[in-house]
């Protein structure tokens, strides 16, 4: 198999092959730790002339992958423009470990100004002392849900509602603190945006009061 002209072993998915070659390709809903979800559609490439999502298309049987063809780039840009419809500006706070992925994808595709009017959603859940959920930055990629349900098998959160009503929701529509969330933080680790991010107090060793001792 060839990716942008470079030979590579067709093992796993096309995305695996692309990343193995060190080619950068957004994959906003595919966390390295989690199975493919196929929701964000930002990993589009041209494979033997067809446009496919690299994260869940097996490499086997594909001969020629183009990540930078005019069509692939145009479609990825268009998807990212739609993605940008969902959120506001980059929050001026520290995000989780993967929070830069979204902004990097915009950067690589030359998107500075949002193309469509923003679809406002504004839950801000600070009920957990460990992390916050800022919905206005959420792109509904579903990584957090996959981490909670599929990796940790906790199932504290889900995406409730269809279409534009879809929303990351703890429990049956409650706050994180009122759900069975164990604060394992796997969702925070997975989130590719600033939507789920560590709470300021959980990361800073200095902001403690001195603990009283015996």
């Amino acid at each position: 198999m060839r990716v942008d002209g470079q030979e590579v072993e067709p093992a796993g998915t096309i995305l695996d092959a692309v990343l193995a070659l060190g080619i950068s390709l957004p994959h906003l809903c595919k966390d390295d730790n989690l199975p493919a979800i196929g929701a964000c559609r930002t990993c589009l490439v041209e494979a033997d002339g067809r446009v496919v999502a690299a994260c869940h298309t097996p490499a086997a049987g594909v001969e020629e992958v183009l990540t930078a063809s005019e069509r692939a780039v145009r479609l990825r840009r268009a998807v990212l423009r739609l993605t940008a419809r969902m959120h506001g500006p980059r929050p001026d706070v520290e995000g989780g470990p993967r929070s830069a992925e979204l902004w990097a994808a915009y950067g690589e595709h030359g998107l500075e100004q949002p193309a469509y009017p923003r679809r406002a959603r504004d839950t801000f859940d600070t009920s957990s002392p460990f992390f916050h959920f800022d919905e206005q930055a959420c792109i509904l990629c579903g990584r957090c849900v996959a981490a909670c349900q599929g990796l940790q098998h906790i199932g504290a959160i889900g995406i409730a509602g269809t279409g534009t009503h879809a929303r990351v929701t703890p429990g049956a529509g409650v706050a994180f603190a009122a759900s069975i969330c164990t604060a394992c933080g796997s969702c925070v680790a997975a989130c590719p945006t600033h939507a789920l991010r560590p709470a300021p107090s959980s990361r800073d060793g200095v902001r403690f009061e001195r603990a009283t001792e015996g």
């Binding site: 869940h56 479609l75 889900g158 409730a160 269809t162 279409g163 929701t169 049956a172």
Partner: protein, 464 residues
């Protein structure tokens, strides 16, 4: 369980869902996400009975400009629709063929499949050339073989969700000829020997489900089929979303591969076929593959049910051989003269077609590159250009509403298509349509652009 609770109270609230989750020993969030992903469920008490927002109803007097939410009530043959479903009226079968022919007692087709044994029966099916009737026309025998190849326990699923506005043929079959469907299912069970068989029937189609269960109770496979009532909406036409709904998960499509025939329901190889496909299987085993092939073309043999609604004198079900000219059917149904008429073929995934171009064969594939297609056999007859704007907006709204919300292009793109169409800002709608079509995860999104594109292609003036 969610469906039962919904029926009892008329709506679901978080406490009910939490209670069910506890009983099933699953986390509340997972039950809640499953519940809220089903379109037909409501989460507040006392909402008015939902009016229909399908196209045949949309063209009735008193229509409002579509707003979201939108849905269809599947009695397009007798608009405007509202309230609970009623049994399918037999007089709406306008033309019957082998599928809708009256039922002779006994289970001859099933007996024949049994005496042939699975191997030979599968060959018989292959010889008949039957293709799936859900709309994708995948050869049935190939699908069954693919699932059998694994030698692992199988699941067999009948898809009776029928969530497409303008299509009511599954309801007709289930209400009027449930035995035929049951027999087809029984034959499939004989061939596939599934570990579990599930008949999924639309949550509001009570009459159809009752008729089916009655037929099932008298059948040789009584007690071996689980009837599952869902409320999932159009996206359940996507097999993987249907499987998720059955598993009690959020009803959204899964990424492919794996295909359901490789790993479907709970990871088992799974065969999903449409109600009408099973009815056809029954026909094949009663009359033989050769008799089945005497209808239709060599590539697409057999008959299939067309659902006609809208501005025709005789709406209802027409059973026609595949390959019949669409214009012939229209004539039979009493459609108005072609110059002033347009057709919506294939519902929200299909597209509009001027009736003057209806001299096409009813075969799998598109009638016109902008969208119109045979699909699941829905044809809505409209007045052109008078009805076009309403109909197109209705379909765009329907797609936006029925988007499961999983993937970005469809969730964000489909409502934008609707908004831009509605506002008449059509300048970069092509670009938008391209990405929705090329990038969406499942068929719903990929084909959602058909009505918009075709309407703009043939009647651009009505959207200014």
């Amino acid at each position: 369980m969610l469906a039962a609770a919904h029926r009892e109270r008329g709506y679901l609230d978080p406490e009910t869902v939490e209670g069910i989750a506890r009983e099933l020993r699953i986390p509340a969030a997972e039950a809640w996400e499953a519940a809220t992903s089903q379109h037909e469920f409501r989460f507040e008490p006392g909402l008015p009975a939902r009016g229909c927002a399908g196209v045949a109803c949309a063209i009735q007097p008193g229509w409002r400009e579509p707003t979201l939410p939108a849905g269809c009530l599947f009695t397009c043959f007798a608009p405007p629709a509202s309230g609970d479903e009623r049994p399918f009226p037999p007089d709406m079968v306008r033309r019957a063929g082998p599928l809708l022919a009256s039922w002779e007692c006994g289970w001859a087709g099933f007996e024949r499949a049994r005496s042939l044994g699975p191997q030979a029966a599968l060959e018989e099916l292959a010889a008949s050339g039957l293709r799936g009737r859900g709309g994708a026309y995948f050869p049935a025998a190939a699908k069954w073989r693919a699932a059998l190849r694994h030698g692992a326990p199988l699941a067999l699923v009948m898809n009776g969700e029928e969530g497409e506005p303008g299509v009511f043929k599954d309801r007709a079959l289930l209400c009027l000829r449930p035995e035929r469907v049951v027999e087809g299912l029984a034959i499939a069970m004989e061939v596939l020997r599934p570990a579990v068989t599930i008949a999924f029937i639309n949550g509001s189609a009570d009459p159809a489900a009752e008729a089916f269960e009655r037929a099932l109770a008298d059948s040789p496979v009584a007690g071996q089929v689980l009837v599952y009532r869902g409320a999932g909406g159009y996206v359940l036409g996507e097999e993987t979303a249907l499987l998720n709904a059955i598993e009690g998960r959020r009803a959204v499509p899964r990424p492919r591969p794996p295909l359901p025939v490789d790993a479907g329901l709970f990871g088992m190889p799974t065969v999903v076929n449409n109600v009408e496909t099973f009815a056809s299987v029954s026909v094949i085993f009663r009359q033989g593959a050769a008799a089945f092939r005497s209808f239709g073309t060599s590539e697409a043999p057999g008959t299939r049910l067309l659902s006609l609604s809208g501005r025709v004198a005789r709406p209802g079900i027409y059973e026609v051989a595949l390959g019949t000219r669409l214009s012939d059917v229209l004539e039979e149904a009493g459609a108005p003269p072609a110059e002033r008429t347009a057709l919506l073929c294939g519902g929200p995934s299909g597209g509009f077609l001027p009736a003057a171009m209806a001299d096409v064969a009813t075969l799998p594939g598109r009638y016109h590159p902008t969208g119109a297609m045979l699909g699941a056999g829905g044809v809505v007859v409209l007045e052109a250009p008078g009805d076009i704007r309403r109909a197109a907006l209705t379909m765009a709204a329907f797609n936006a509403e029925q988007s499961c919300g999983k993937c970005t292009p469809c969730r964000e793109g489909a409502p934008l298509l609707f908004e831009q169409l509605s506002a008449g800002e059509t300048s970069d709608i092509d670009e938008l349509a391209e990405v929705v079509q090329a990038a969406s995860l499942c068929g719903l999104g990929q084909m959602a652009t058909g009505p918009v594109r075709s309407a703009l292609a043939f009647w651009p003036e009505v959207f200014r």
